[in-house]
């Protein structure tokens, strides 16, 4: 089964980042993979490292925390508090990166929406940054830190998207 496609990233406004992707699986399974700690551990780090810890207290007011280890790099941890949960449909949660001086003060608000059509699931993840400065910091980190591989690889991906 080939991949269902690449993620698309757009910048809808000054303070937002939108990530979208279709999955070849019904919504209840995508939901399970998204909200079950053992399953999150298997995908959340992508190929960049391993998830060493995933805790999820899936209820409004409940918290989650993921820790990821990158080879040769420091541990990075994120946490948040669920603000809204509609089972299999929608999650609204804060997301704070613990590597900055005031994680909760610069936390983003993530709105995750799952819609199913013909057994496939569309994921819409809207990251709302508290300010343009935070969004820019995220953007900037992508250009400076572990996210970038060699430029060649980037070009290949860019080419495959078109």
């Amino acid at each position: 089964m080939p991949a269902s496609g690449t993620a698309t990233v757009t910048l809808p406004t000054d303070e937002e980042i939108r990530i979208e992707r279709d999955f070849d699986a019904p919504r209840h399974l995508v939901w399970r993979a998204w909200t079950t700690p053992e399953l999150v551990q298997r995908w959340w780090a992508g190929q960049r490292g391993t998830v060493t810890s995933a805790e999820i207290d899936l209820r409004v007011g409940g918290t989650w925390r993921y820790v990821m280890e990158v080879p040769g790099g420091p541990e990075v941890a994120f946490h948040g508090t669920f603000q809204e949960i509609v089972p299999e449909e929608r999650i609204v949660t804060t997301e704070a990166y613990e590597g900055v001086p005031d994680p909760d003060g610069s936390a983003a608000l993530n709105v995750v929406t799952f819609t199913e059509q013909d057994g496939r699931t569309h994921l819409d993840l809207l990251v709302r940054c508290p300010s343009r400065e935070v969004r820019d910091a995220i953007i900037e980190s992508g250009m400076e830190a572990g996210m970038q591989e060699s430029y060649d690889l980037l070009e290949q991906v860019a080419a495959s998207l078109r």
Binding site: R42, G99, D136, A137, M143
Partner: protein
């Protein structure tokens, strides 16, 4: 879930390309200019906004080199400079690449779940 590695906060630049295209009107302007050089009056018509407003947006776009201008007799013609979009292109591609990898790993998890579910129904 959304942010991958919000590393060091940096001094925010007010006049960078990301800021310039964050404004919907300015993206509209770029779309119109992508069709070719235009004087400011045409742009105001195309967007349906007053000329001073268009000039304001053009100034922001020019500051980050997204738009260039030349004199053509008594008119000033504006054109888009696509190369200035490169930082955005690069970032979006890098971010997309990371999320694509992450979602490919999620695909594998989903395949397993589907298989388990099918086995469950069969048994």
């Amino acid at each position: 879930m959304g942010i991958y590695c919000a590393a060091m906060a940096r001094a925010a630049t007010t006049a960078d390309v990301f800021n310039a295209v964050a404004e919907p009107r300015r993206r509209q302007l770029l779309d119109v200019l992508a069709g070719g050089e235009r004087p400011v009056g045409d742009l105001a018509l195309a967007l349906g906004v007053a000329q001073p407003q268009v000039s304001k947006h053009l100034r922001v776009l020019r500051e980050v080199d997204l738009v260039a201008v030349r004199d053509d007799g008594r008119r000033r013609l504006y054109r888009v400079n696509g190369r200035a979009l490169k930082p955005i292109h690069d970032w979006v591609r890098a971010y997309e690449r990371f999320w694509t990898e992450r979602f490919e790993a999620l695909d594998d998890v989903l395949d397993d779940l589907k298989r388990q579910e099918d086995d469950g129904h069969a048994g």
